[in-house]
C-alpha cells in the first residue's frame, strides 16, 4: 500500500525543514557574535536540500539534507575601538548573517513544515478510514 510511503516522504521533509529552522535559529542567535580574528568569526549556515534518489524512475522521492554549508558573503567590519575584541585599527569582525533573509527563510521553513504536517494528517485519516472499511 503506497499510502504508507507518504509517512516516509513527508517525514523526510519534516526533518529537512526542522534542520533549516535550526540553522536559522543558530544564525539569528549568533547575528552579533563578535570575534577578533576573521577565521573564528561565525558565518551564516544554510542547509542544502536534494531529492532522494528513487529506485525507479516511476517513484516518488522524499528530501535529503546533503549537508550544511557556511555562507561566503564578506564579514561585517564594525568600528568599535572600545570593544575588548577590537584589533589594532579598532575594528571588530561581525558575522555575515543577513537577519532579513533569515526571517524570510524562517517563515518559508515553518510554512513548508505546516503543509507537510497537513499532508501527514490527511494521509493518516485516509488510512484510518480504510481500516474502518465496512463498519
Amino acid at each position: 500500500m503506497s499510502l504508507f510511503r507518504v509517512f516516509d516522504i513527508s517525514g523526510s521533509a519534516l526533518y529537512a525543514q526542522s534542520v533549516r529552522l535550526n540553522t536559522t535559529a543558530s544564525n539569528m542567535a549568533n547575528a552579533d557574535s563578535a570575534s577578533s580574528s576573521i577565521n573564528s568569526t561565525y558565518r551564516a549556515r544554510h542547509p542544502v536540500f536534494a531529492a532522494q534518489l528513487a529506485e525507479a524512475d516511476n517513484e516518488a522521492s522524499g528530501v535529503n539534507v546533503l549537508g550544511i554549508v557556511e555562507s561566503n558573503a564578506p564579514l561585517r567590519q564594525e568600528y568599535r575601538p572600545n570593544h575588548p575584541l577590537a584589533n589594532q585599527n579598532g575594528y571588530v569582525n561581525m558575522p555575515n548573517v543577513n537577519q532579513v533573509e533569515e526571517m524570510a527563510d524562517m517563515i518559508s521553513a515553518s510554512r513548508s513544515y505546516q503543509s507537510n504536517v497537513e499532508v501527514l494528517n490527511t494521509s493518516k485519516q485516509m488510512l484510518m478510514r480504510t481500516l474502518a472499511l465496512g463498519d
Partner: protein, 129 residues
C-alpha cells in the same frame, strides 16, 4: 449463487490503488517544495485506471514503443508544467499541489465510501436480514 468480491468491488478497489499512488506522488511534490532543481510530477488518473481495468486505449499499439495520442503510456509519471518557474529550477507550486492533494484525498474517501457501502450490502445479503 456465488458472491464475486472481485466483481462487487473491482472498480473502487483499483481506483483506491491509483488514488493512494497519486497521494504519494503529490506528497513527494509537497515535500520537495524547497529542493533546488526538483520537477513536480503527477499521474494521469484516467489512463492509469483504464489500463488497470484492461481497457484498450483508442489507438491499438502493436509494439511496446508505439505512442498513444496523449503522448504517454498509462501509469507513467508525467512532469507538471509550471505557470511560473522559480529561479532555482524547482517547478513545484505549493497551492496547486495542495489543492490537488486534498482533491485526491476527497475522491479517495468517496471511493472508500462506495466500497464500504458495497461491503455492507454484501453483509446484509449474507445475514438475510
Amino acid at each position: 449463487m456465488a458472491i464475486s468480491f472481485e466483481r462487487a468491488l473491482s472498480v473502487h478497489s483499483q481506483a483506491l490503488g491509483v488514488r493512494s499512488q497519486r497521494a504519494e506522488i503529490l506528497a513527494a511534490n509537497l515535500a520537495n517544495t524547497d529542493t533546488p532543481g526538483y520537477l513536480a510530477r503527477d499521474l494521469d488518473f484516467k489512463t492509469t485506471l483504464a489500463s488497470l481495468q484492461g481497457q484498450e486505449s483508442p489507438l491499438r499499439a502493436t509494439h511496446a514503443v508505439h505512442l498513444q495520442p496523449d503522448g504517454h503510456t498509462p501509469g507513467q509519471l508525467l512532469y507538471r508544467t509550471p505557470t511560473q518557474m522559480s529561479l532555482d529550477g524547482n517547478s513545484v507550486e505549493e497551492e496547486q499541489e495542495k489543492s490537488a492533494f486534498s482533491d485526491n484525498a476527497l475522491r479517495y474517501q468517496a471511493s472508500l465510501r462506495f466500497m464500504g457501502n458495497r461491503v455492507q450490502g454484501l453483509l446484509s445479503a449474507i445475514r438475510g436480514e
